[in-house]
Symmetry: C2
Subunit: 414 residues, 2 copies
């Protein structure tokens, strides 16, 4: 097959992670060094950058700054949340994208994001094929939620899991300094899948983590929750709980939106974040001191606690996307497959997944990895997650603060 | 003067920090190696450990585990919040403490805590003198709030400042990935003094930090706040705010306790954390997307982002307390004095402060270090704080997770 020469575009999409720029660097660095790729263009704010003809010439960036992308959290090219319409219903955006692709002779498109982004890739690729415009489209996976179909795990997850595990260990120690007892409720990200919340079990395995863990995979029952907490508190004088923001009742309604019959002294039903709500009802039941903690978006941008394994794999995903595309592959997402070598060491290999299969699917924590009581995590999960959090990155610093990549972001000559 | 031989007790008190155990190690290691100190006893949960005769024989601990205290956050001996009564009104506790001191021949008492703890030291020392029991009492400073009187800065502050600065940089990047604009409100610890919140200005000086910073030293005005935020948001499309949990109105009432006229759609006045409250009113004014973030207690136990300078100085404070006490000093708190050597490098020296002066005083951020608009920080603060956050500790790890000190905590033979 004759080599397909042309420009490439890389875009970032969806929620940022600590290692999304390592994937971007994997694409950019590999593409800049590939003779078949004539120009490397970064789209400003993902697909919107293509629609708005806002594309950066990545070849004009300082190579040392590009390398710092490995240690720079949050989408350096900017991100977007933009759901593409079905082209059979409205092809306005698709026509525009094709116009831009033709303008810059774009023959490779790399989109780095979660399952919505894989849906975008898929729709764009099918449209280009229908219009007989040759362009190889590859999805580069990204999500802290670890919920992409078909891949052993996702870039972004290992670093978030490490952040959660380490933070839970620190919170545990802090909550145990006094002899007066305390119930600590930690709310962790994850609307539909409990991979992030399950990571708190790592802290438990180290002797300083939650006593109870609630994932969205198991329907939540308030009375059971309160019985669980009260039992631990009576036994230990303390109780630490990790709970996913996405836990919901058997009828599907999110617990965090619910009003309780408890009031706050003003006669107002207690609303607010999930951790606050559960702390409120736990205090009502046990009369203990309670402490609600929301880990918030530091889970996804806490690059100072990134996993070097995650950084390596995120880079590898970007690099593989370019190499496969140049080699003739299209309409695939890069996925991971794990192996253990003869010495029992974890090895991560690349695999290819059809974009159509990945788009709009969600992979949840296997029910067998959750205890039958529904409030704890089995050892199989720990065996799964521990290799993903390994390794300390040598983070570039300036005066003991992170030294992030500084991109010039020079728009391509039109 | 003849050397005073006897046992020593070390206790920890008040809120924990990332480096409080470095100070404990400074005391314990120095005391274990000093021929005048016959036994080194750690009090369980501070002064309560003495009252309850719960004292650990620190000489029985593994020296390697003791060394790991340098990197272990949160009071390893346990802490307490226990305000001692005036002995002239009620000397019950003092009699008990004297009884315990006599029982174990305690001649040195080291208490590691903030200004309440210095008050405890002072009261105990004066009582022992009144009862003609020779015991040297030294305070070892500790607080993330940096508000102890008479010392240039406090152990615990540098690490918390580094955590806040780094986290603000990460949050900034995360909040700027989309092109749809956002107002981000970060609530930072500090009820009366703004040292912690001011540390967010470090992030601003690095190009990725808050646009507006509100300290409790300046009376808060809601209209001015909303005008400030709206002006930045209109200009930039984004606005990041750092605000101290302790900001209060001119009448002294805390903003975080206030109800606003805004309601939450259920007709209920919006209550809750300060960040949520300010985000609510900012959204009401600007119709922007808002994101409230509470850094919570991770500011004080995030040892993974500790400052090596802070660790060194915390150790030095404990070490100096023991050496000074053995040398004949009593009724003092160890303080710090900064200098700059001939090359302009920061140097930290020990000084001694009278316990009576320190107890119950608070040192606030100088008004000259706050901009005249009341919503920013002057360069003088940055010159002050930057040396305190320097240096990356070589944190002991096990499987990429923190490897904390494991103390056996063997009660002393009675």
């Amino acid at each position: 097959m004759e080599a397909l020469k042309g420009a490439c575009i890389i875009g970032q999409s969806g929620g940022p992670t600590s290692v999304i720029n390592a994937s971007a660097y994997g694409v950019i660095n590999t593409a800049l060094n590939n003779p078949n790729i004539t120009r490397v263009l970064g789209a400003e704010h993902g697909i919107k950058g293509i629609l708005n003809d806002r594309l950066f010439d990545m070849g004009k960036e300082d190579p040392d700054e590009l390398k710092r992308l490995l240690y720079t959290p949050s989408s350096a090219l900017g991100s977007c949340r933009y759901k593409m319409k079905d082209p059979d219903k409205d092809d306005t955006d698709y026509k525009r994208i094709l116009e831009i692709f033709k303008k810059y002779d774009v023959r490779y498109f790399f989109y780095n994001g979660g399952n919505d982004s894989m849906d975008t890739c898929n729709k764009i690729s099918k449209y280009m094929q229908k219009m007989n415009y040759e362009c190889r489209v590859m999805g580069v996976p990204k999500t802290i939620d670890n919920d992409l179909f078909g891949t052993d795990h996702c870039p972004g997850y290992g670093s978030a899991a490490k952040y959660i595990a380490t933070s839970c260990m620190e919170v545990f120690n802090d909550c145990h300094v006094y002899d007066t007892g305390e119930i600590c409720i930690i709310e962790i990200m994850g609307r539909h899948a409990g991979w992030l919340t399950a990571a708190s079990a790592i802290a438990t395995s180290m002797g300083c983590g939650p006593d109870l863990i609630y994932l969205p995979e198991i329907p939540f029952d308030m009375d059971t929750f309160l019985d669980d907490v009260e039992a631990i508190y009576k036994q230990k004088g303390y109780c630490m709980v990790a709970v996913s923001e996405g836990v919901h009742y058997a009828d599907g309604s999110f617990v965090s939106n619910a009003k309780t019959s408890a009031t706050d002294g003003f006669g107002h039903a207690q609303l607010g974040g999930l951790a606050s709500l559960l702390a409120f009802v736990a205090a009502d039941r046990t009369h203990a001191k309670v402490r609600p903690i929301e880990l918030s978006l530091l889970q996804r941008c806490g690059a100072h606690l990134a996993s070097q394994t995650d950084i390596n794999e995120a880079y590898m995903a970007g690099e593989a996307a370019v190499n496969c595309a140049v080699g003739g592959i299209t309409d695939k997402m890069i996925g991971f497959e794990r192996q253990y070598d003869a010495d029992g060491n974890y090895v991560c290999n690349v695999k290819l997944l059809d974009l159509a299969d990945v788009a709009n699917e969600e992979k949840k924590v296997p029910l067998e990895w959750i205890t039958k009581e529904g409030n704890g995590i089995e050892k199989e999960f720990l065996d799964y997650v521990m290799p993903l959090i390994q390794g300390e990155p040598d983070i570039p610093k300036y005066k003991s603060l992170p030294r992030y990549a500084r991109l010039q972001k020079i728009l391509i000559d039109k």
